[in-house]
């Protein structure tokens, strides 16, 4: 009977305590479940509160913008009030050219800065990181003024390049920080594994760390591009707007956000209609970029395995 001694119930403090704890646990179960239900309910309510305006905005833009979409909308340039037809082809071209130039400049610069930030913790890196964080919070009109003074004033005229310059500055800190985060997310033991094979730091970064961080980097870059394409204020002061088709970025250009801004405040129904259509188009572009970044990241993630 020796083996059963510890389980001889009444005197055993552990069994006694187990009984007490279990009775408290089961007695409080209803209270805890109710609390849990209430907490989850509150979460749902706030989720609804947050999501209603989101869905509302999207639905409203779709309902208002879709009627503006037709073949002319995507192929013709904007027409003044009173002339039927017309589209936003000039604005599409402008947004594409400006976005491409801004991306082409901001992505390599931003990613190399991000790599530097991820690899160093010194005072310089700290200062740059802080500046980048402040930059993401700077009102975009300020960047527009900077673009106006730096490019428009100095060259003497508005231009798509000035807009690309301003948009690039908007994108830069976002890419830097996204790149840094993605690169820092790569486990350090991968660094060590490469270093222990005799790799130089640059080689480690190029061959091991950056490829491993690629899904995060691509997501960050595409989100930054999406952000840049939607900016209006920096363009207002730099590209001026152009009713005519203009591929040359050294000349004033039209852009989708500008169409939305200028036409939505017009007292003419057909111009407002064009503004809604442009808003929907911009939203779709941003949506495609966001979804594309996720899909691409998922594909790259799968390939890594």
């Amino acid at each position: 009977m020796m083996t059963t001694l510890t389980f001889d119930a009444p005197a055993d403090p552990i069994l006694e305590r187990r009984r007490r704890i279990q009775s408290v646990a089961s007695a409080s179960l209803r209270r805890r479940k109710n609390y849990s239900r209430v907490a989850i309910g509150v979460c749902w309510v706030f989720l609804a509160v947050a999501i209603v305006p989101l869905i509302g905005v999207v639905a409203y833009v779709v309902i208002k913008g879709l009627p503006a979409w037709n073949a002319d909308f995507f192929t013709q340039v904007t027409e003044p009030e009173g002339i039927p037809g017309g589209g936003v082809w000039n604005a599409i071209v402008g947004t594409a050219v400006i976005g491409a130039i801004a991306t082409a400049v901001a992505v390599p610069v931003g990613l190399l800065c991000g790599l530097f930030l991820a690899e160093s913790d010194g005072r310089i890196a700290g200062a740059i990181r802080f500046t980048a964080d402040v930059m993401t919070g700077v009102p975009s009109i300020t960047i527009g003024i900077f673009g106006y003074i730096a490019i428009v004033k100095n060259t003497g005229h508005y231009s798509g390049l000035a807009g690309a310059f301003a948009i690039g500055i908007i994108m830069l800190p976002v890419i830097m920080r996204a790149g840094e985060t993605a690169i820092r997310g790569v486990p350090f033991h991968l660094n060590e594994a490469a270093l222990a094979l005799g790799a130089r730091r640059a080689t480690v970064a190029r061959r091991v760390v950056v490829p491993a961080a690629m899904p995060g980097i691509i997501t960050g870059v595409l989100l930054a591009v999406a952000r840049g394409l939607g900016e209006t204020a920096p363009l207002l002061l730099t590209i001026f707007g152009n009713q005519y088709l203009q591929w040359n970025p050294t000349k004033p250009m039209e852009a989708l956000p500008l169409v939305i801004y200028n036409y939505s405040s017009q007292p003419y129904a057909d111009l407002v209609q064009v503004a809604w259509g442009a808003a929907l188009l911009l939203m779709v572009v941003v949506l495609v970029l966001s979804i594309g970044s996720r899909v691409l990241a998922a594909v790259l993630q799968r390939e890594k395995r």
Partner: protein, 284 residues
């Protein structure tokens, strides 16, 4: 002449789900029964058709090479797979009279009866040593300071942490060494006074000295709680366990139970040749 003590099988306990009064099984009787347990993720079996009994007051070791499903099986015993959307568990797991996977069984209550210690020490980083120890009790609605203190002291003593920690109960858990942190996690699990304690390779992240202390601890704890331990280390299984379940990856990559029995027999004269090969270190 002294009257023999009656067997201890008369301890009353209430089934949370049904309110019925249960009997506490005495030492050596089955406390957990696994019957044809299969765990699958997204339709692919990870462990298939495992059947064995876990005996009260004993230490049961799950051994086998990597990929044999030891940890997966262990986590099925306190419904840790509930958090994985693609996971499904079929077959039957019984804790006493409670059907672990019955719809009426509350997973949180079940887990207060079946505790768990993980591979890596995972004390709550924002809580002190004392707060860590009583965390499970507080989660379960215990508020009485006297009961919390009593359970904390008892658990810390049982986890051999009381002597070194009693004067710094308010210190953060991160100030403890790795081995101490793992013992704190054991104390944290014990404080809830579970009936069964699941240990998932509890020493794999520890150095040999800390491992030795935990192993000694496990031996002492079996008078308090039934232990099921997953281990990679056959010497460890031999040292600490009373019974052993040997799992092996089958042809479809799902783990199967090859042999179950008393540890001494499994290691000296196993019935299955694969067990013999494994315990003699010929593979795995």
């Amino acid at each position: 002449m002294i009257e023999p003590t009656p067997p201890a099988s008369v301890e009353e306990r209430v089934n949370f789900n049904t309110g019925e009064v249960l009997m506490n099984p005495s030492v050596g009787e089955p406390i957990m029964r696994l019957d044809d347990v299969t765990v699958s993720f997204a339709g692919r079996n990870a462990v298939r058709g495992v059947t064995f009994d876990v005996h009260q007051g004993e230490i049961t070791a799950l051994i086998g090479p990597s990929g044999s499903g030891k940890t997966t099986l262990l986590r099925a015993l306190n419904r840790m797979h509930d958090t994985v959307r693609t996971a499904s568990v079929t077959g039957s797991v019984k804790l006493g009279a409670t059907d672990v996977y019955a719809g009426t069984t509350d997973a949180t209550l079940l887990r207060s009866r079946v505790g768990m210690v993980f591979q890596r020490p995972n004390p709550f980083p924002t809580m002190s040593i004392y707060e860590n120890t009583v965390a499970g009790l507080k989660f379960n609605g215990v508020r009485k300071k006297a009961l919390l203190d009593e359970a904390a002291e008892s658990a810390l003593i049982a986890a051999a942490l009381w002597d070194s920690a009693r004067d710094r109960l308010k210190a953060h858990a991160s100030t403890l060494s790795g081995g101490e942190q793992q013992r704190l996690c054991i104390a944290r699990a014990l404080a809830v006074e579970p009936e069964v304690l699941l240990m998932d390779e509890p020493t794999s992240a520890l150095d040999p000295i800390a491992t030795k202390r935990i192993e000694e601890l496990i031996g002492e704890l079996k008078h308090r709680v039934t232990i099921i331990i997953v281990t990679h280390n056959m010497q460890q299984a031999m040292r600490v366990s009373d019974r052993c379940a040997f799992l092996l990856m089958g042809e479809d990559k799902a783990g199967e139970l090859i042999e179950f029995g008393p540890t001494a027999k499994l290691f000296s004269e196993p019935t299955d040749p694969r067990t013999l090969d494994y315990v003699n270190g010929r593979f795995g």
